[in-house]
């Protein structure tokens, strides 16, 4: 018998962890001499009370859905893919090559092609750490960290030496052709009389991210491969006795994870900047860790957590604009969420488990 009812595990623990993170964030805001309630109000106003605010919130959320799904798929196989950042960087390169060198007739085909390019490059960047983990026992956390730095060096080299147009100063590729322009929410939802999502970068990639969530759910809970990945994550020896090949599962789980992380770049590189720039990922690969932890590795949870972090990101930008609180507040909140929902999970879980056992005893 479980120590706790399922709802407590899925809803109560993340909620308590989130409240703890919020409480400490409020303390931090107080400590630097600002009012946390005012700050929250500003964040809500800027991120949720206007359609353009939502346009930014959902744009960030799109990134975090992809990276969150990437981390969660690897987590299911008990692999900690901390390399989402590097995989997304390389994914951006895939997007750029697809957009620059293939003459797409229409954006709908371009987004498919770019997605394949991004997924392919992201997956390839995850392949080497996955292979080394599966075959040679090199710890995947360390290799993926190293691969983040190597990816940054490669991207730097490619942008400075190869893709930068002649005469341009900043390390960025040429602008993508107009045919690859993705419809933004403003293009899609505005009417003549009512402009919606004015100037916001949210674009059609958001729906791609939703589709990816559904895909991950189907994959993990409705296919044999998903079952094998989860079984492998639960017990490697158990999976081995059931005839599941650990090398195959490790590599496949990481390939899917890398592909999802890479696809994040469709949103940033194709949907927003429309050219490949340095640091287009902006740490979204790491936020995927917080999102996956908060979302309890379930696509629906990841979706909610991604929207929450999208709100924090846009709200944080508003705060930086109107108060003296720098954007880095979001990094602190992100750290606290990772700390409480991930590392200090037992701190919340153990007292709750004791509480539920005590309650059950009294009822029995």
């Amino acid at each position: 018998m479980d120590k706790m009812p399922k709802w407590a595990d899925i809803v109560l623990i993340p909620l308590i962890s989130l409240l703890l993170a919020a409480f400490f964030s409020a303390l931090v805001i107080l400590a630097i001499g600002e009012n946390p309630i005012e700050a929250l109000k500003l964040m809500v106003d800027g991120a949720l009370m206007r359609s353009s605010g939502w346009g930014y919130t959902l744009y960030y959320a799109t990134n975090f859905i992809f990276t969150g799904l990437a981390v969660s798929v690897a987590f299911h196989a008990r692999l900690f893919n901390i390399g989402g950042e590097g995989q997304a960087m390389l994914g951006g390169l895939g997007v750029a090559l697809c957009c620059l060198y293939v003459p797409w007739p229409h954006w709908s085909l371009a987004i498919l092609g770019a997605s394949v390019g991004a997924a392919l490059f992201g997956a390839l960047w995850a392949l080497i750490p996955a292979y080394l983990q599966a075959k040679r026992g090199s710890h995947i956390v360390i290799t993926t960290i190293m691969f983040n730095f190597i990816a940054a060096a490669i991207l730097n080299y490619v942008l400075v030496e190869l893709l930068r147009p002649v005469g341009a100063m900043d390390p960025a590729s040429a602008k993508f052709p107009d045919a690859t322009h993705l419809p933004s929410f403003q293009d899609m939802f505005s009417t003549e009389s009512n402009k919606m999502f004015r100037g916001a970068p949210a674009n059609v990639t958001f729906f791609l991210a939703l589709a990816a969530s559904v895909f991950v759910w189907l994959l993990m809970w409705r296919t044999k491969l998903g079952y094998q990945i989860r079984a492998f994550g639960h017990s490697e020896s158990g999976a081995l006795y059931a005839g599941i090949n650990p090398v195959r599962i490790t590599v496949i789980a990481m390939l899917i994870s890398g592909a999802l992380a890479g696809m994040m770049s469709v949103n940033t590189t194709m949907g927003e900047s429309e050219r490949l720039i340095l640091n287009s990922t902006e740490g979204a690969g790491f936020i995927g860790i917080a999102v996956a932890l908060m979302g309890r590795n379930h696509p629906f949870g990841v979706l909610l957590a991604a929207i929450l972090f999208g709100f924090l990101y846009q709200g944080g930008a508003e705060l930086a604009l109107w108060t003296s609180i720098p954007r880095e507040l979001i990094v602190v909140i992100q750290a606290l969420v990772i700390l409480f929902t991930g590392a200090l999970d037992n701190m919340v879980r153990e007292p709750l488990e004791k509480l539920f056992i005590a309650m059950r005893r009294r009822n029995a």
């Binding site: 360390i142 190293m146 790491f286 602190v332 750290a335 990772i338 999970d345």
Partner: protein, 336 residues
């Protein structure tokens, strides 16, 4: 390349290797006890900020150092709580600590100094200034002779050049870091504490059965790690540079982690690994030197990525396999 240029590159290597070495040894204590620490970067960053900030207010680099160590140890306690007391995921805790430091340093810097996440520049005693060893040619000798220092050194004999340029003229923390290497070796391999520390990273159950507290040993290791990361951070902001700037560790915590794997969790190897990676960083600043010597134009990006590439190669086990302590990253559960 002449002898003096070589010495200058090596001199820069030593200065850049110092924070790597301190952080690497910090990680060594922690990982030898079975607590994986990918939060070296964050602890260094927090220490870099708080040491620079307090050094600025107090005017003393040593008081700053204490503050930096304090900040780093505070983060180490969080890591200890997460990984030892609450038996959480040590990797996730490390990630959280890195972000916590990255965010908090800028937040506090902005709140205290309002200079866009940096501290004001440090001057005089607020910095760790170079120490001139006896008989070395230093700025004072140059002043007395009325000649520029560079000219004095280039006119000296090769032995004096070696001594004055490479051995002398570093800040006290550089010599301290170098002394930490034999000290760590002695502590780990010649004392009872060291034996127990290594044992707890390999087989905590055996240590527990022998009646020694696993929790206490691991906390001790995590705290030593915090102290050393603190010194590394203080060195960055008040010796290598004069003040804190946002994200000034720039991945050094991860290079230190790479050096630790490269050194196969051994203190003396750690020294060589860090000097090698320090050399890469020094050459990254002077790509013209490689071009002059070898005639090949080497991409600076390649030099920057070289420590990471080498670590992956070592981890892959193609060149001498790196085997971590057996109980790494596994929380110890006394009774089920």
């Amino acid at each position: 390349m002449d002898f003096l240029t070589l010495l200058q590159v090596l001199d820069t290597s030593v200065r850049l290797a110092t924070p790597l070495l301190l952080a690497c040894l910090a990680g060594l204590y922690s990982e030898r006890s079975g607590v994986v620490d990918i939060g070296l970067e964050g602890k260094m960053l927090a220490a870099a900020f708080f040491s620079a900030a307090v050094a600025f207010y107090s005017g003393s680099a040593w008081v700053g150092l204490l503050a930096g160590v304090g900040a780093s140890v505070a983060l180490a306690v969080i890591h200890g709580l997460a990984s030892v007391t609450f038996r959480g995921n040590q990797l996730i805790s490390g990630v959280a600590i890195n972000f916590l430091a990255a965010g908090m340093t800028v937040l506090v810097a902005q709140s205290w100094f309002r200079q866009g996440g940096r501290t004001p520049p440090l001057e005089g005693d607020a910095r760790f200034n170079p120490i001139e060893l006896p008989f070395a040619i230093g700025p004072k000798d140059a002043e007395a002779a009325g000649k520029p220092l560079s000219q004095m050194i280039s006119e000296a004999g090769p032995l004096q050049q070696f001594y004055s340029e490479l051995i002398s003229g570093h800040s006290s923390l550089v010599y301290l870091a170098l002394l930490t290497v034999p000290l760590t070796w002695w502590l780990l391999f010649r004392t009872r504490f060291g034996l127990r520390l290594r044992a707890v990273g390999e087989n905590p159950a055996a240590v527990d059965t022998a009646g020694v507290s696993v929790v206490w040993l691991r906390y001790a290791a995590v705290l030593i790690c915090g102290v050393l990361c603190g010194v590394a951070g203080a060195y960055l902001s008040s010796a290598l540079q004069a003040g804190f700037v946002k994200d000034m560790t720039a991945g050094r915590g991860f290079i230190a982690l790479a050096a630790l794997i490269f050194a196969k969790w051994r203190p003396v190897y750690a020294l060589w690994a860090c000097l090698l990676f320090g050399l890469f960083q020094a050459l990254e600043l002077r790509p013209d030197i490689i071009e002059n010597v070898s005639g090949i134009k080497v991409q600076v990006q390649l030099l920057g990525a070289l420590p990471y590439i080498l670590t992956v190669v070592i981890l892959a086990g193609f060149v001498g396999k790196a085997i971590p302590p057996k109980a790494s990253a596994e929380p110890y559960i006394k009774e089920r």
